[in-house]
């Protein structure tokens, strides 16, 4: 086949188009045309009430059932997904210095002006001296710089090289239009249990609709189990931290085991539960990228015997640090195939 890539590209065209092309055929079109022709004929011959019927049918036909707010929201979503995530990301090639030839992958980077990178202790350093950390052969973590000095690093963005996904889902988990806040979930599905999820939240200026700030967290799951709608990354503005009193407290976490479920409570110093997360057996507990040291705690796989003995959160700087201390009784298979003991 000469056009292998085009074949793959066609496989991922819009579901609705594929569905419609199988559902509709020319006979339907003929019948519909005849039917419309009859309506029009009646319209000419008889009363004005038929005009109303025809008008309603016409409106339904062009599917304008979305409310203005939804249309606006879709517009915002589209604009942001495309401009902030995809359009500004450029790909560049890294030459494997072990073989001095060939590509070892395509890496995605937020800035436009990256021209080279070099590998150093399994960390890719760009010309801007920003590290990209290698998680496995095709998964890299890209920190996003933020111009807002009060919030120097919103979050870390994990970006997997895009595989040929079979389907994707785009969900809006939260939308507060008046306050300029949106949270969305973008999940790519493959023809395996694997799925790749991006949780994206951003704030925008209500007047101009320009993005003020956003953060992206990534969940990659090779397991049968999937956790959705959770985030272990906190993006707390200083003033919010002060309001919550988080900046002055050191939280710690205890994990409780209950069959296949592992619950983690984030507890304030006064004993109140500040936050609660429930992990399902087999799901990964994401690692955390610490901007100051570029150190990284890799992802671990939650098992029913995991015992998270001490996690603390401190936020005396805008970025909240989450540090894991894990104790695992049995060896656990890491995403890269190595066994963790």
């Amino acid at each position: 086949m000469k056009n292998d890539i085009l074949q793959d590209v066609f496989n991922n065209i819009d579901d609705k188009l594929i569905f419609d092309a199988d559902r509709e055929n020319h006979y339907n079109t003929i019948h519909f045309t005849k039917w419309i022709a009859i309506i029009v004929a009646i319209n000419v011959l008889f009363s004005a009430s038929v005009i109303t019927i025809f008008a309603v049918l016409g409106i339904n036909d062009v599917q304008t059932s979305l409310s203005d707010e939804e249309i606006l929201l879709n517009k915002i979503m589209e604009a942001n997904i495309r401009s902030n995530i995809f359009k500004k990301v450029t790909s560049f090639t890294v030459v494997d210095d072990r073989t001095e030839r060939g590509e070892i992958g395509t890496y995605l980077y937020y800035e436009q002006d990256v021209t080279y990178s070099e590998k150093e202790n399994s960390t890719f350093v760009t010309s801007d001296n920003i590290s990209l950390l290698e998680l496995d052969s095709d998964l890299y973590m890209l920190p996003i710089s933020n111009n807002n000095t009060n919030n120097r690093l919103d979050s870390s963005l994990f970006f997997q090289e895009f595989k040929t996904y079979i389907d994707y889902k785009f969900e809006i988990s939260k939308f507060d239009f008046n306050n300029g806040s949106v949270e969305i979930i973008l999940i790519f599905y493959y023809d395996t249990p694997r799925q790749y999820q991006l949780n994206i939240s951003f704030t925008y200026d209500v007047e101009s609709l320009l993005i003020k700030n956003y953060c992206v967290t990534e969940i990659l799951n090779d397991c049968t189990w999937i956790i959705t709608n959770y985030s272990l990354f906190y993006n707390i503005e200083p003033k919010e931290s002060a309001q919550e009193g988080i900046s002055t407290i050191r939280n710690y976490v205890k994990a409780y085991e209950n069959g296949d479920v592992c619950t983690i409570n984030y507890i304030k110093t006064n004993g109140d539960i500040f936050h609660k997360h429930t992990y399902v057996k087999g799901a990964k507990i994401p690692g955390y990228y610490q901007p100051s040291s570029h150190s990284y705690w890799p992802e671990f796989v939650a098992t029913d015997n995991c015992n998270i003995e001490a996690i603390y959160i401190e936020s005396n700087i805008p970025t909240v640090h989450v540090i894991f201390s894990l104790e695992l009784e049995d060896s656990v298979m890491l995403p890269n195939g190595e066994k963790l003991r």
Binding site: N3, A21, F162, D167, T224, I226
Partner: protein, 185 residues
């Protein structure tokens, strides 16, 4: 059984789901696969492989449109099988796939970046959405479902020359559109 009920069976790990999928969609899958492979044995194998893939990926996935989701899996697996067969010389290489009618729209080695491919898929979807319904469906029948010209003629009650001219013009339009949008040089 409705798609929703089939998905529920899959989520409950109930093997009846596979039977229900076959009942509802075997012909659909067969057509997609046969149009690519033209070999009953290979088609059967691909459909079995596809059913296995569906069983494995639902859950966690809950597709909005089960039929299209199944179709995409079958198509993908059938294309892989076709490529393997071609590589193993079971099928002579040559201009035997409808997609090859695009000639050198995109050459192999180009657009290796999956992100660019995803962008291109979106651009083609946008192009197709803007086409009149008949042209769009003829195009998708030919290049997604891999229907033969004769099948398209039968489906739409068109003459062969009309279908060929329509496809030719739409391909040209697509080429111009992709150039205009900056996807092609």
């Amino acid at each position: 059984m409705s798609d929703k009920e089939i998905i529920e069976l899959l989520f409950n790990r109930d093997e009846r789901a596979i039977g229900e999928i076959q009942l509802s969609y075997y012909n659909y899958c067969h057509n997609i696969s046969y149009n690519i492979l033209h070999d009953e044995e290979d088609v059967k194998e691909c459909i079995n492989e596809s059913l296995n893939a569906i069983w494995n990926c639902i859950p966690p996935h809950r597709p909005d449109n089960l039929k299209t989701f199944i179709g995409k899996i079958v198509r993908k697996i059938s294309i892989s099988a076709f490529r393997k067969n071609t590589a193993a010389k079971r099928i002579p290489s040559g201009n035997i796939s409808p997609i090859d009618e695009f000639e050198d729209l995109i050459s192999d080695g180009e657009l290796n970046d999956k992100l660019e491919q995803a962008e291109l898929s979106r651009a083609i979807s946008k192009f197709l959405s803007a086409l009149p319904k008949t042209e769009r469906n003829v195009m998708i029948r030919r290049y997604w479902y891999n229907d033969s010209i004769k099948d398209i003629c039968d489906r739409f009650s068109f003459g062969e020359s009309k279908v060929k001219v329509m496809l030719n013009r739409t391909r040209d339009k697509l080429r111009k559109f992709l150039k205009k949008e900056g996807y092609l040089m």
